[in-house]
Symmetry: C2
Subunit: 143 residues, 2 copies
């Protein structure tokens, strides 16, 4: 039985990997995906909100660059490369003049997209509350 369900995969992973352990490869993977740009790229390349059920999202490099306001081209390229290497995104080069490069999520990338989009929503939804907490904490420390 070579194919395993997601539940079986989790069950086996629980035996093999534990991100709480320092040397565990999953710890490094967690570190890798715990990144602002990873979150925003994955969020941008998925279909959510108004785009739900619209098929796979395909974006050009320049589109991504504009969507993720403020990202340097170094960070964008570097992050996209590592996502491609990990099999989360597919990079497609169309040899036109000038060249066109598009990015889209793989199935694996889609599975992570859900979580990343959730993080982005969480940050937006709880910004006010966090801000209030910070003010309370800072003024309390004042006295």
């Amino acid at each position: 039985m070579p194919t395993r369900t997601a539940a079986e995969k989790r069950a086996q992973a629980r035996e093999e990997y534990d991100a709480f352990l320092a040397g565990c490869p999953s710890r490094q993977l967690l570190d890798r995906i715990s990144d602002k740009w990873v979150a925003l790229i994955l969020a941008a390349l998925g279909r959510d909100g108004p785009d739900r059920d619209a098929g796979p999202q395909v974006m050009r490099y320049s589109e991504l660059s504009r969507r993720l306001a403020g990202v340097s081209q170094k960070m964008l390229t570097q992050t996209l490369r590592s996502l491609e290497r990990d099999g989360l995104v597919i990079r497609t080069v169309t040899p036109s003049v000038p060249v066109t490069v598009t990015y889209e999520l793989t199935g694996l990338g889609q599975s992570l997209h859900q979580l990343m989009y959730g993080m982005k929503l969480w940050a937006e939804a709880h910004m006010d509350e966090v801000h209030a907490n910070r003010e309370r904490y800072d003024t309390a420390a004042q006295r």
Copy 2:
């Protein structure tokens, strides 16, 4: 109507905050929570897996330190402070000799815990697949 549902909060946040925008506070918040130690601390302080339905998780500093193998005391303290400031964890000092300090999630922290625990599980469940993708990518680049 001062109290809003989670859905209403998201709806309003969608108007006010957008982490895709560079200057948006939610972008910084997303950056803040996109952190390996934040993920592991939030994951450790929640009730999941075998601990489900067991009430709120309370851990001492030293327990956390042991659970998050390899964390330096500087990073642990620093991350816990920022989580406390943001209102995600509660820090309780019991003035015994020597002093006892415990940490637990707030409601806000619980809401993020779900996502963070999901990220940890994702990393563990897909480690093999990512590893295989990397090997394929690296050997393909070889030629």
